[in-house]
Amino acid sequence: MLLEIKDLWVRYKGADVLKGVSCGVEEGTIVTFLGSNGAGKSTVLRAICGLKAPESGEIWFNGERIDGMLPHNIIKQGIGHVLEGRALFPYMTVLENLKVGAFLEKDREQYERNLKEMFVNFPILEERQQQQARTLSGGEQQMLTIARALMGNPKLLLLDEPSLGLSPMMIRQIGKIVQQIHQRGVSVLLVEQNARLALGVAQKCFVFETGSIALHGETKEMLGNDQVRKAYLGL
């Protein structure tokens, strides 16, 4: 298992947001966390990256225990995080944003290769590379954030609600991009409210409900079960 979460408890100002969550991501797969707002999905991502310290529980990545580590060190282990709300550097250009994404990349040639690849996969970014990030449209910004995270060559990419605020066409684009990322060998953990998008790409799915996992399993099985589909996935 590339990423393993064991019995995670997270608390915000006295209220338990995650109650003993256990889940994981196998190498080379796409896993999705589903659930309504406030169910705790994003909190798991923040806990993985060290942005929020858990009360108890363990988080393992690539054989190393990462809970308790500082965020920038966790990223160094090979995780990329596309934050909710994108967290771009608004007054830096597209190119500069990508450069910062490659901060941990020591090899100049590898950096150049990555950059070229990003421009091939996201031609709009090449076109707008000298523009400030804040001038991009919602969909373009989302692509930039993803590209920026990929510049660091992560083994695992955490995507937090990438479809938020995007048009249906853009959302389909995002789906394609996630699959492309997967094809490159990067494992993906996708947090989404848009079940259709998520289940269209993920192999495995965890459904969150008020801080716990209500249901989990292979996507195929879940979609095959009418009850599950209607009650939990809203499809």
Partner: protein, 290 residues
């Protein structure tokens, strides 16, 4: 009143003020960087400026070292002080606003008193950076002020290039624009803090050396420098580098002009009022984006 003010006077005033802006810029740059990356206002920043000036005094006047060499050493030593300051005082005090205010204010008192005890309260002089004056369009422009502005703009340019072209510079810019986003690229926030305080303090040290050379030195010059620093970063826009440069020039020129027309005290007060006005009405300043 007295004699009428001529066009020549005004021109000289503007140019002198422009040059004075140089020392302010060096104080403001550090202050604005530290503020944008660490969200703290370093109340001892003015005292770092003052220490820079006294370091030059110590090396140059008391031990005969070449003035420019002394200025370079001063810059390095204030940068080092900045590193220590960040590690010992600022880093452990994460978060609580009152703590930063108290700690940095405490440090400023310590530095002031330290200098008073080591050098006495009396005003001192540094040798001139370049004695004499140019003749520009018929008006005499002090050469040393010219040197000051050249150095200040030069350092500003160097800083700009650092922030735009180097990996760590870009990382610093990124950290100031989105802290979490920067963390998620593997950027170590402690390294960023250490760098920014070191750079900011080094610049302030040079500012002090230049200011001390043009004017006099005294252990309490830091407070004035700090106030000027705040003035320009508010006017120029918090977190903005070009803002600090432009703000410094505006402050220098307006102080000069106000002094010419209304007397030196008004020259000091009006910028303060401007700051308050800006903070209230135009928080972004001229170039800022927070």
């Amino acid at each position: 009143m007295g004699t009428a003010i001529s066009g020549q006077d005004i021109l000289q005033c503007i140019i002198n003020g422009f040059c004075m802006g140089g020392t302010y810029i060096l104080v403001g740059l550090g202050l604005t960087l530290i503020l944008s990356i660490m969200s703290i206002l370093q109340f001892a920043h003015g005292e770092i400026y003052m220490v820079g000036a006294f370091t030059v005094y110590f090396l140059c006047v008391m031990h005969g070292l070449n003035l420019y060499l002394a200025v370079c050493i001063s810059m390095l030593s204030t940068a080092a002080i900045g590193l220590i300051l960040e590690r010992v005082l600022l880093r452990p005090l994460k978060g609580l606003f009152l703590s930063y205010v108290c700690a940095t204010t405490g440090l400023s008192l310590i530095l002031q008193t330290g200098v008073v005890l080591s050098f006495s309260k009396s005003t001192k002089q540094l040798p001139s950076l370049w004695p004499g004056a140019f003749n520009v369009l018929g008006t005499p422009i002090s050469r040393e002020r010219f040197v000051a502005i050249v150095i200040a703009l030069g350092l500003s340019l160097a800083l700009y290039l650092f922030l735009k072209e180097t990996k760590y510079g870009l990382a610093m810019t990124a950290s100031s624009q989105n802290r979490e986003g920067a963390l998620m690229q593997g950027i170590n926030p402690n390294v960023m803090s250490a760098m920014v305080v070191a750079i900011g303090s080094g610049l302030a040290g040079v500012g002090g050396a230049l200011g001390g050379s043009i004017f006099n030195l005294d252990p309490y010059m830091g407070g004035v420098a700090f106030t000027k620093g705040i003035t320009i970063i508010v006017i120029g826009g918090l977190g903005s580098l070009p803002g600090a440069v432009v703000g410094g020039l505006i402050l220098g020129i307006s102080e000069s002009l106000f002094s010419l027309f209304f007397g030196s005290q008004m020259g000091i007060v009006i910028p303060l009022l401007l700051v308050i006005a800006f903070l209230i009405f135009k928080q972004k300043g001229l170039f800022g984006h927070e």
